[in-house]
Subunit: 351 residues, 2 copies
């Protein structure tokens, strides 16, 4: 009978390498970390042995001797029912990973219900020495997280702009998309088609980018003298998107164009338009913020604000690496999203 190998492959340590290579453990450490103190010949030998043994440094041991945990954290605070589809996050994460992988950094990921839990996780991770840095998403008005992370001394990159007036923190970079400019380009498009009554069905009101979009919309409306331009906040869910759309269309002078803050809301809006027998774009024009399969597969295909989310994630991760390398915090702006005109926008009825 085959003797079953019960011991499941021991992990090699530096001691193993040292023995095989016939040198001390310190020499191994120097050799593998490009530190001076070993001859080129020894260095090569040690490296070969390490390679051959399939050695990898124990992150625990590394972390314990002050090298950091080789991990960055990302917490997503969204009530469970809200994280339905959202192409955004998986793409963002995929971009982030691409950059982190180059340095063999792990991504510790957690989904929680609310901001309070998120802060608790940060404290926990800090105390447990689990992460070297953080990626913070969904910045809010009056956001407690930058101050907290600064206090804990955890480098972080805020993805999406902080609200204006938020004090700068030394270890915190920001990578943001120009929501104001993007909103301006949408209004441009709709105004150019002849729309004068525009509704903006926004996302969560306490998010900083929601406010930026709302402000920009109103500024653009004011600039063009449009009185009938409003924003309504939702929780990003299809339910609230549909509800808000229904109420808006029931008004005496309904909007001729609606801008939705994400693809899910837009799809829900489209469904409501269909349900009420409104032709899109004949009777009503729709625009979605963020493109996705939903927008492309919808009938009619939705005009959408296309941005390269995965590249956004890459940039954020790059900034975090830069912080971890000891570079000063920066504030960088991502590419301006591009409005992709499709079949859901046209001149308003009677024009």
């Amino acid at each position: 009978m085959d003797p079953v190998r019960r011991t499941p492959a021991r992990r090699p340590t530096m001691k193993d390498i040292a023995q095989r290579a016939g040198v001390s453990e310190s020499a191994v450490s120097f050799a593998l970390n490009d530190r001076p103190g070993v001859s080129p010949a020894t260095r090569d030998r040690v490296r070969r042995v390490a390679e051959q043994l399939g050695w990898r440094p124990s992150t625990a041991a590394r972390a314990l001797s002050g090298e950091g945990a080789a991990t960055v954290g990302l917490v997503l605070a969204r009530p469970a029912h809200t994280l339905g589809v959202e192409s955004f996050f998986l793409q963002l994460v995929s971009g982030i990973q691409e950059v982190l992988a180059r340095r063999h950094l792990g991504l510790l990921f957690q989904v929680v219900e609310d901001l309070g839990e998120e802060c608790a996780i940060y404290r926990r991770w800090w105390a447990e020495r689990r992460v070297d840095g953080l990626l913070v998403v969904d910045p809010r008005l009056d956001d407690p997280r930058p101050a907290l992370l600064d206090e804990l001394g955890l480098p972080a990159v805020v993805i999406g702009a902080l609200a204006p007036g938020t004090p700068a923190h030394s270890g915190i970079s920001t990578v943001w998309a120009d929501d104001a400019g993007a909103m301006a380009s949408i209004v441009d498009h709709l105004y150019g088609l002849g729309h004068r009554r525009i509704l903006h069905i926004a996302g969560l009101p306490h998010l900083a980018h929601t406010q930026r979009r709302i402000r920009s919309l109103h500024a653009e409306a004011a600039r063009r003298g449009l009185p009938d331009v409003h924003s309504i906040s939702t929780d990003y869910s299809d339910t609230e998107g549909a509800e808000a759309t229904r109420r808006a269309l029931a008004r005496p002078r309904p909007p001729t164009a609606i801008v939705y803050d994400n693809d899910v809301l837009a799809m829900a809006g489209l469904a409501v338009a269909n349900e009420r027998g409104l032709a899109v774009p004949g009777d009503l024009s729709l625009v979605a913020w963020d493109d996705s399969v939903l927008c492309r597969s919808a009938h009619p295909a939705l005009t959408a604000l296309v941005r390269d989310t995965s590249s956004f994630g890459r940039h954020a991760a790059e900034q975090l690496l830069s912080l971890l390398d000891g570079n000063p915090a920066r504030e960088i702006q991502d590419d301006l999203p591009r409005l992709m005109a499709r079949a859901s926008t046209a001149p308003p009825p009677g024009s």
Copy 2:
């Protein structure tokens, strides 16, 4: 001038607790880990001090002294362009987290391009002692991962069934959905409506559950004597979904009902039907595997196979915890998904 506190809050260690409580470090360890060797009074005192100091055990130190990394891993091997929408994963992860959080286990998450990279990550994580266990998704025909993980001695739970005939591995549990039964319920529904020519636009052909669905479909067709029932594989993308639909509808005797393996494919199929002027469900019935906002917001709303993905994730995580606790591997079956009939299915034309 305010003296700036440059030191960003030192993390308390057991030594700090020991000093404040006036006991040795060992006593602290005993007290905090419910080990015998300290009086109830001391235990309480130590705990209070720990609480007050906001102490949390350093995972690195814990891991180094043999306690495991307090982390489980999850690798998602999907080509970047494929992970478009997919409500599935975020929900799965959210369910997983719910269970892991109770034990304060972290989730190390990674997105890679292919299976080879995924295996490399497993080896790396193992060698780096980063994870205590793994959640494996997208089981395949002839899957190398169970054997690898068994060799490495990493407990794992495979989410979704392995292909039949895969040898059992001692440290590997399986949590699977009854794809065959689900497919049977879909065929039941369609056959009951009068459909005889059914097309199945499937996902990636090398995934085990894809094969299960295909087999079940053919078995059900054979049982009812339906000759014109086929499956076509895709990569789950809207592009291939649309393409496959187009080709199928161009055939001399096109199907009267199409079953799609996910919501994205189904939406793409719906768009193609619209583009060709086919009425859904009048001319063509559509069914989506997996429900989501897409299905609910589509026009007409799509009949879909609803399953509680987040509960699926919870069950998988629970199995992993059980494995980590030293319990033997198990194979458990999740609830049978439920077919939610909506507006996209009806009797075929001319019936």
